[in-house]
Structures are given as C-alpha cells and as structure tokens.
Symmetry: C5
Subunit: 330 residues, 5 copies
C-alpha cells in the first residue's frame, strides 16, 4: 500500500500521488528527489515501483518479506538500508519492534514500513519544515530516519530502566514475593530489543566512514552522532541484561530466605504446641494411675494422698515448663 | 550411491545416468556443466567419480566420512564446500542436521548428501525450471543450496521460537511444575544447531568477498543476501540460548516457591490439628484427676462439684481456643 | 550558567567575566587561550557562546543534553570530548557519576559540567599555580581533566574494594544472614560505573596515538599514563563484577545451609518432645485399663497387683527411653 | 631415553641406532632425513643429541621439562612444535593428555614424547609403508603427527559426547538422583582437554599460511584439513562445556523437586497420623469426664446415659472424620 | 631505600654503594652498566636518582606509588617496565602479589621493588655467576626478572591446582559439608592473580616483536619463551576460574542433597514416633469408656467382658501396627 508520494524540488515539497514516473522525471530534471512511502506492500503492489526505479530484486524481496536484520547494502547506485525502530509499551512491558526498509538513489527514496512506527511520518514532517535538510537530498531522509530510530531506542532504554527500578523495589521491598516471571519476561524483551539495536552499529560505522554513495563527507559527523547514541543504547542494554540476571538470582535468594522464615516460625509454633501437650500428658498419666481400681492401693486411703498427688502433678508440670523455657521451646 | 546425474548445456537439462565421462566431455564442449548427486557413498563408490573429475583427495575423504564443519576450501580450480542443512522435527523437539558436500569445478558440480535433506532435490527442481539460473553455471547450484539451507535455518529458528513460547507458558502458566528436562533438551538442540549454522558465516564472507573461483562478481549480492539471513539465524540462536538459560533459572525459582507453598500449607494443617489435639487434652487431664479413687477428695462430695469442673473445663477449652486463634494457629 | 571565564596569556591568568569575544581576540593575539566553564547550561544560555566560538552544533546539543557516553570527536579544528567523573558516596554505597563536556580549540577551552564534580575546579587551581602546565595550551586542560577523572575512578575502585571486603566479612562472618540486596545494589553500581569508565579507553588511545589536533607528541606519554590508569580501573571493575556474582552465589549457599541448620535443630526438638510424649502415653494407657469398672477383673483383687502394674509401667517407660536413646531420638 | 632412530633416504627406511652423527651425515648426503624418537629424556640424555643437531637451547629445555602449551616456534632453520595428543580412558571418564615435542630441520626430525601416546609409533608405521609420504621429508612427520593427534581429539570428543548422553539419561531418567560429582568431574576433564586442543589452532594457522620452513605450499591443504578438524573438535568442546553447565543446573532443579516430593509425602503421612490421633482423643476426653468420681453426677444414674454418651462419641468421631476428609487431611 | 648498587663492566661485578654518578660515568666509559636496586622508596629518596639518570617523571611517579598494572613503556631512550611477581602462601591460601618497576637505559638498570619478592635478589645472583648473561647488558636484567616472575606464576598456578584438588576432595568426599567460603576466597585470589598475570602478555609480545630499545633480536627467542610460559599460566588461571565456579555450584547441589537427606530421616523418625503414639491412644480411649461410672453399663457385669475388651484392644493395636507397616510408616 502506497502511503505517500512526495516530490522535493528546489527546497519545495509537492505531493504527487498520481504519476510516479512523471515525478521521478521531474526530480531528475530539477535536481530534487521523489519519496515514496509504502506500508506492508504485497510483492505485487511493490513490483511496479521496483520496476520504475530499477530496484535490486534481492533487496525488494527483503523489503517485502520483512523480518530482516538492521543492515546497509549497496547495489550499484542504489543503497538499501533496514532499520528497526522500537517503542516501549509500558503497561505490557513489551518492546514493540517495527521495521523500516529504505531504498536510496540519486533522485529517490523509497521507504517500506512494517508494523507501527511514527519514524517515517516524523521525518516527512521535518522535511516539510526544513529546507536546509532538503538540500542534503535523499541522504537527509536516511539520516533523520536513523537518528529518530536511535533516539527512540534511548527512550526505550530509559523506560526499561524505570521498570528495572520498579522490579528492584519489588524484590527488595517489604512485600517480598517471587518475581521471576516479570524479570524473565523483561529480560526476554531486552534480548529481542538488542537484536534490533546492536547490529545497526555496522551500517552506521560504514556511513561514518563514508563508504555509502550519495552520503557526502559533510553528513559524516551527523551519522557519527547517531552512532554514538546507538552505542549508548547498546551499553545500557548490555548493563540491563546483566542486571536482570542478577536480580533474578537475588530474588531467588530473597524468596528462599523469606520462605524459610515462614517455615521456621511454623516449626516454632509446632514446638510450642507440642511442648504444652507434653506437659498436659503428665496429670493425665499420674491421675490415670490413681484411677485404677485395684483393691489394695495404700495411697488411696491416706488422709492427704490426694493433695500430695495434686502437688506432685503441679510440681512436675511447673518443672517441665521451666525446662522447656530453658530449652527455648516455649 | 549415485542419486542423479544431469547435464545442463545451453539452458537445457538432460539426464545422463549412463556415461559420466561422456557427459563431462559434452559439458566442456558446450560450455555447460554436469551435476552428479550422491547419497552417502562409500569410499569405493566415490573413487571412480573422484578420479574422473580429479577431485582433491582430502576433500573426497571429508565428503565420504561426513561429520564436517560447514566450510569452503579451494583446491586449485576445484572449490569444496560443506553445508549442513537442518530441519526441525517438531513433535520430538529435535533439530535434525544433515550434511551436503559440494565440489565445484568449471564444468561440474558434485553434491554428496548425508542424512535427510530436501535441499538438493529443491535445487534441481529450480534449475530445471529456470534457464536464467542455469546461465550462472555451477555457482548457481552452490548459491541455491546455500540459500535454501539458510532459509531452512530460519524455519528452524521460528519453530524453536514457538517451542520457547510454549515453554514460557508452561513455566509461568497456572499449571506450574518442573520443566528442566524439556528446557535442557531444547537448549542442547540449540547448541548443536549453532554448530551447523554459525561456522557457515566464514565461507559466506569469502563468497561475498569474491575469493572463490567460478563465482563471478554478479553473484556477490546473492551471497551477501544469504550471509545476511545467516546472521539473522545466528542472532536468534544466540538469543534463544540466553533465553533458555534464563527460563531454566526462572523455572527453578517458580518450582521452589510452588513447593514451598505446599509445605507451608501442610505445616498450617499440622498446626491446626495439633492445636485441636492440645485443647482436647485439657478435659482428659482434669477429668483424670477427678477419676482418681482417693478416699479423701473433698470436691467429690460437693453438691455442684461436677458442674463446677465441667464449667472449668469448658472455660479453659474456650480460652485456649481464643488464644490459638489470636496466635493464628487455628 | 557560566561559572567562570578565564584568560591565560603568556603564563598569566586573568579573569575576564565581562566580554568573551574580547577575551578570545586577546587570546588569539597573545598566543594564549580562554577557558569558559559552564554548569548545566540551557540551550539558550549556550547558544551565544556556541556562536562566538563557532562550535559544532551536534556537539553543542550533546553538551547541553548530557547523558552522553565518554567520547572524543573531531569537528574540523574543534575537538569535543566527554568524560564522566565519578565519586563514591560511601554511606549510601552509590557511585555518583557526573559529566564533563570539553570543547578544545586552538585558543579556547569550553567545559560544560553536569552534576557534582570537583574536577573542573581542581584543574583550574592547578593551572593557576603551574605556568609549565599553561605552556601546553588548551590540551593541558584536557589532560588534567582526564587525569583527575581517572584518578577519581581509582579512588572509587578502592572504595568499592573496601565495601566488597565488608560484604565478604558479613557473608562469611559469624553473624551470617542474607545479603543479596546489598550485593545486588553494589553490583548494579559497579555496572553503571563501568559504563562511565570503560568507553573512555578509546578516546585515550586516540590521544596516545596523536590523532587529536592541538595535542602535541610531547603530551602523548601523559595521556598514555592516564590510559594505563584507566585500564587499571577497568581491570578492577571487571574483577569486582565477577567477585560480586560469586559472593552472591556463596551467600545463597551459606544462607541455605544456615537455614537448614535451624530446621534440623527444630526437627530434633520436635522429635525429642514427641518421644517424651510417647513415653508418657504408656502409663496413661495401662492405668486406663485398670481403671475400667468391669465387675470381674481378676488382677484388681490381687494383693500386689497394683505394685506389679506400677513396676510394669516403669519398666516399659525405662525400656522405651533406652530405645529412643539408642535411636538418637532423645 | 632414545626409543628409536631411523634413517630415511631415497624412499628407503634404515634403522640406525648406533651412530647418530653418521646417520645425519648420510641423510644430508642422500637428501633424506634422520628421525630420532625419545621418551621422557633427562636433560643429560638429551644434551648430546641437542649438540649434534645444534638444537635451540630454550626449545630443548621445553622439550625436556614438558608441560608446555601446544605451540610452533621458529629458531632459525629449526622449527620446534609441541602437540598434546589426548586419549579418553572411558572407565575413569578421564582424558589422558600426553605431550609430543617435535624438532624439525632440513635433514632431521627429533620427537620427544612425554606420557602415553601411540601417535609417534603410528607415524613411524605409516612412513615405513608409504614412500609417497617420505618424499615430503621431515614435514611429513609433523603433518602425520598433527593429523593423528587431531583425529585422536575427535575420538575423545565422541567419547565425551557418549558420556554426556549417559549423564543426561541418568539426570532425566526415572532413577533420578544427584549427579553433580560426575558432571563436575567430566567438566573438569573437558576444561583440561580444551587447554590441549584450542591453542593448537594458532600453529596450524601458521602452517596453513606457509610461514614455516621445510613445509612447502603443497603441504598447505593437508594442514588446512587438520586445522579444520581441530576447529571441529574445539566447537564440540565448547558445546560440551555449555551442556555440562546446563545439565548441572537441570540436575539441581530435578533433585530439588524430587526431594521436595519426598518431604511433601512425608508431611502428608504426618497429617494423616495426627488427624487419626486427634479423632482418638475425643472418646478419651469424654469418657474421662464420665469416669470422674463425683457423688452427684445426674447423667450417671440415667437409664440410657451410657448409650447416649457412646452415641455422642461415635457421632463426633464420624463428624471429625468427615471434616478431615473434606479438608483433604485424611 | 637503596638496597643495592652494582657496577657491571667487562663481565666483572663491582659493588659501588658510594657514588652513583661516578659509577654511571664508569659504566658509560667501559661499555658496562649500573644496577641500582630500591625498596619502596619515598618520592624524596627517589628524586636524586631520578635526576642523575634523567628518568621520565611519569614513570618515576608510577614506580614510587606502585599499584600499577604490568606494563612496558618507552620514554625516549628509557624503557619502563612493571611486573608483578606473585607467590602462594599455602597455609593461608593467599596469592601475595609484589611489584617490580624496572627502568632500562643503555648503561643502567634501576629496579624498584614493592612488597616481598625474591626475584631481584635471584637475578642479581645469576648475574654475578654468569658472565654470558652480563654480555647482554641491561636487557639481561629485564629478561631474567620477567622469566623468574613468570616461572613464579607457574609455581603459583601449580599450588592453586593442588588446593583445587583438595577442595574437590572435600566437596565430593564422604565428609560432605559446605565449603563456599573456601571456594569463594580461592576464587577471589585467582581473580586478583589474573590481574597480575594476564596484562603482562602485551609487554612480552612487544618484546618478542623487538619494539623495545636495548633489546636485540638475539633476545627475542628468550622473551618468546617467557611469553609462552605466561600464556600457559593464563590458560590455567582461566581454567581454574571456571572450575571454581563449577565446584561452587556442585557444592551447593551436594549440600542441598545432604541436608535434605537429614530432613527426610528426621521426618521418618517423627512419623514412626507419631505412629506408635497413635497406636497407644487406642487402649487409652477404649479403657476410658469402660472406666465411666454409669450405673447401667451392661458390659461391665458380663463374666468375660474384661477379657473381651482386652482382646479387642490388642486386636486393634496389632491391626494398626500391620497397617502402618504396610504404609511404610513403621
């Protein structure tokens, strides 16, 4: 699906949805360029454009099928780049990765977007308001797209940082509990995010080194800046990866201790209950003996036998209680 | 065992099972090439072919014995490549790795397959239907075989991804349970798969760099594309490796907590039962005392002695019950 | 906010808060340099200076927004460096990272500080007292800032080392206990600190290699010395990272054992109590039998029946006690 | 100790134990070479040979003292190589590493063996039966020794793989149990084995690159083949290392669950026993009350008092039993 | 503190404590060199020497302050090296790292030792007895110091290996127990030791490559030999690091199982005791019923009531016992 088609000539923007070949001719004539934006095109939809601009078949395939690595490839005069902008859906703790394929020729830019990303729209808006940017030709689109994508990475990095802080508070906070699911899922997002971010370093290095046609030496500091920001994002991702591994281990330690504390308290309760029960068995046993019906039991006829027995029982119970106390059982 | 022998001359395919040397001569004359496909040949079976095409001995050895690393070696004019296609047997969660050795000369291709793989058959089918492909000569076979093998890797990667999702659901789902065996076995498959995938990067880089004879500059973008897909597979394998390690740790945490929860509940039950038992001991003990047969027990002859004792017992039991409740034991 | 503006000409220091352009002109004329120190300037505050010195826009952006990686970039004649001094707040076990952006021209140095750091003030003090240093021009500022920052890293490294020693004493000391929170938090500080320290190696290597303008060959040994100290800090950070991972595991082992010891002792108590209770049940049961009111119970009328029963009870109890002792239950 | 001394001239093998210098002279004259094989020589035993062949002192030291890393060093015309053949002692699950130092000159090979290895004997046997091999001169000995050693590594790798399969069956099999000792010990063997295998890659790369004198370009494919096999062994070792770490973790998970299952079942037993005991306390307590000897207890003289009480006891017991059943305690 | 000052001219050793400048002059004149050995000098003590020999200030700083990384730096004609000899204090399981800074000029060597190390004394002794060594000039001191230090590393490595064997015996031996403290502490020593050993590889590579003045090509094989031994030590350290991590995990597994075994046995005891107690409750309960004082209890007046009840009690007890046996509770 063609989302937009614009013609930029002499610092002017003209929307030219109708005739792509005419627009391309005009761009060539006027030293400007055409930008065609597509969204998840089918192979058929893309075929005509691909022919008009004589795009390299392999790159067209990649752009249509998506699920590519971030990369930058030269096919003669045409440069093909793939960047994967990301955004953080905070309430789900999910990094949503979209994909943006960019064909760069002397007089055209073709962008193919897969998934949700506001990068192309933002670049378009900038172009429309900045003639200075337009002066750099198609490379400006590449630069802005990469810059915005990498800035987006830094936003994601910050958002993940906040979630890690939250996890730390949960793990080490008073509530305790087991958080391995949340930690694992965030880690799995970080790993997927890394696959979008880290491989972009090589294309950026090549842009900084000036190996890409239609990207002049003047543009190199800009790409170096983007590269630098990318490294920052990559550093943070690496650190988060480590942190999450460690917080998982720490959580396991915490949970183990927490649970053990519960068990120990329960065991103490049991010991206390059992100790009391053991004390209660004494009067039962002794009284049982004097409840026997033997005809000849001399104690029974003693005047103070009863009182003596009661006293003995009480003494034993008190003694046991003191003993258990000393053993820390009560 | 020779599976197939085909002669490709001037865009035409001719099956030529009978006379290999004649076919080779014809290929040389007509600027075409012969493709001989073998399946797990014995050294003896391979010896004759090896002689006819003057294949390098070391490479022949490797091709017959199999269990090679993915590689690409030059022996004078002959290029020897080993690629290990993989496929995922989903119901066993096993990656089945086969092996395909390819000898590439100016006028011949010899493929030696070990294990089950549909890559050679698929390449043959493509050649038969695409004269454009045939125009590239033997290199086309190498390209298609590598491309299909790497595409197969991406399929395996996707299938493993689905299994990891399943494992995540099991581990973090309501059913809980211990899944270390499944996780470990999948991880062990991933490790083996990696050994088939990752070393292929070096041969592909060499093909991209144009260091291989009979592979023209025009073919380089194609190999670059394959290389790129390989890197994608390798990235995913790396990520899966990490994920599985983490899910194993998370599972251990989950299981620990789950089991602890069971133990805690069991302990609570025991505490409750013991508490009731302790309460039941009170009437037994007191009643035991008044069941003694002493002749002189003043309480026995009291008019309301019995009722007083019953009341005392009841009071103590109720009191204990309240106390245990307050301690959260009941 | 401009913190300070100084003019260094012919080994002399002059404070020149009023007119920056005049100071710059004078510096150029006299072969000296101007140093302007800023603290967390807004984009607006920085705009004028940036114009006066024709600073590169991208670098100005980075300097204003902060949160950069340590780096060193050339923009024509201007060198832009970012260094992140750190200090250890011992009572919180936190590494506080500040940020210092440095613009280096032939006749000026502009430093932009974010966060708390005494590095710029210390450099200024050194400049004011050392004419020899001044002779090196703006590069002296860069050298001193890097040297002091790296020396600060070594202080932090030492302080962390002391905290790790403390943790080791806690973990392996008699008090025992679970310290995963402290270990994790220190580890997370180490990881953040690493992100400030390690990337500085590349800028320093470039300074040592003499790739930076206005940094003469004479300055290279100085930067090599700083580089060397940086590597020392990086080595230590790496080692601490490993140590903390290991001490976390060791702590988990210790805690597991400690808790288990508590449980085992509790279980022993329970076994002891239960054993005594079991013994106490014997007289109760036997006495209960002779407390039955059957009319015909021959033992009851025996002359020594009572004494025999008492003896039997005592014998059983003593026997049980001995048995339990032998089983190690008492 | 000199194990063997052979003279190979013009494709002929002659044993020449007696006079080494004469043999060397003859080898030089006839364009052949002398091979002297030693077994754990003392410094004194080796001194004479070392002098005759003017071997480099440092290398001689290394060869006598053994415990070297696999390496390849040039000392002028003499090449010194160390390779560490390994073999797997299956019943002990131990990798036995021996050491083979090889001095290579234009007209001589000196091999120094430490420990048990059949590599030198096998090389000798091959030389005696293959004149083609002899034609390559001393380099043939180096090639065959490296090839056989690396083939031996692949055998060890396979044997370790079988043991890992066994461990997996033990860990995940029905018998369960704790296998950390076996896993750890095998891992420790793998680590030691790696130290023998992996460093050999550098010497082999140098041989492939043709940096070694007396090793012609014709020999390079052979060394490349060995190098390739070495990489295969190294890949497998890496994978085994990972697998063993993971199986250790999985085993811990399994054991934890297994033990917990035992504890849970024991706790269930205890709950059951306690529940029955609690039920048994009811008749004791109630009967105790009616066993009291108060003179005035109205129920005692009721006609059906006894039966009512029995019925009440039975009702309570049945009720408790039903309650416990519902709580899943019985 | 100056420990020693020696003058080596024409293969002769002369002690020259008195006048350093005179000694240096003589060394220059005679083509020999002066060796000054210092032990933990203060900055003031070192200042004079530093001036006499015009040593580079930065290096002097490093030598005085110590705590450097192993390194090798060129300052014009002067080479500055730092090596950190280590020795293993077996009864404390501690690696004691000392530090040796070496200044190398055409006619002098200055060594600065921090901590306890017998390396300088050993080098001196060798020099005094070996004129051949003296002939190499100051480089001989560097070579011998590095060689002895690295040999010391190998001794430490061996001693650590023995301690690891001991730990393995403890962990997997019959005594069992928790050894995380010992394992952790040894690991922490290994990590510190690594920081002394591994960075030395770079200086040695530079010496092998001949980048260091006053170190001739003839010396390169010697340094290569040292380098090789260093790599051997580094390999072993790496392996030990892995082993200790694994033995910690294995120990945790062992301890978990061991403790669990104790708990299981305790639980079995409790079950046995409780089972017996439950049996004992039967006669108590039944006898209690027939001990009630109801006037109308038909069984009491039966002729064989008593015996029937005794028989019933016995039957129930025997039955319960059999049941518990079958349940494996007794």
């Amino acid at each position: 699906m063609i989302v937009d088609c614009a013609l930029y000539v002499k610092g002017q923007t003209r929307h030219a949805r109708t005739d792509i070949t005419a627009a391309l001719r005009e761009a060539r004539a006027g030293g400007g360029f055409v930008w065609i934006g597509l969204f998840e095109p089918t192979a058929a939809e893309f075929a005509e454009i691909s022919e008009d601009f004589t795009l390299p078949t392999l790159a067209v395939d990649d752009a249509v099928r998506a699920h590519q690595r971030p990369k930058l490839e030269r096919y003669g005069d045409v440069t093909f780049a793939v960047v994967k902008p990301g955004r953080y859906v905070d309430h789900e703790e999910v990094v949503e990765i979209s994909e943006l394929a960019i064909f760069l020729g002397e007089h055209f830019v073709i962008t193919v977007r897969h998934g949700v990303s506001d990068v192309p729209a933002a670049v378009r808006a900038e172009l429309n308001t900045s003639p200075a940017l337009l002066a750099h030709g198609p490379a400006a689109v590449l630069y802005r797209a990469l810059d915005l994508a990498v800035d987006g990475y830094l936003d994601v990095v910050e958002a993940i940082g906040i979630d890690i802080d939250e996890i730390e508070e949960q793990v080490f906070g008073d509530a305790g509990g087991e958080h391995s699911e949340r930690i694992y899922k965030l880690k799995s997002e970080v790993l997927e995010f890394r696959r979008a971010v880290v491989p972009l370093a090589v294309p950026l290095q090549r842009l900084v080194a000036g190996e890409v046609p239609w990207v002049g030496a003047a543009a190199q500091p800009y790409f170096r800046d983007v590269h630098d920001h990318l490294l920052r994002a990559a550093d943070a991702i690496e650190a988060y990866d480590h942190l999450l591994t460690n917080v998982l281990a720490a959580n396991l330690a915490q949970v183990t201790v927490e649970q053990s504390r519960v068990t120990v308290r329960q065991n103490e309760d049991m010991r206390k209950i059992s100790s009391w029960a053991a004390i209660a068995l004494v009067p039962t046993a002794i009284a049982g003996i004097y409840g026997m019906n033997f005809e000849y039991m001399p104690e029974l006829s003693m005047r103070y036998g009863y009182f003596v027995v009661i006293a003995v029982i009480a003494a034993i119970c008190v003694g046991l209680h003191a003993l258990f106390r000393r053993n820390d059982w009560l």
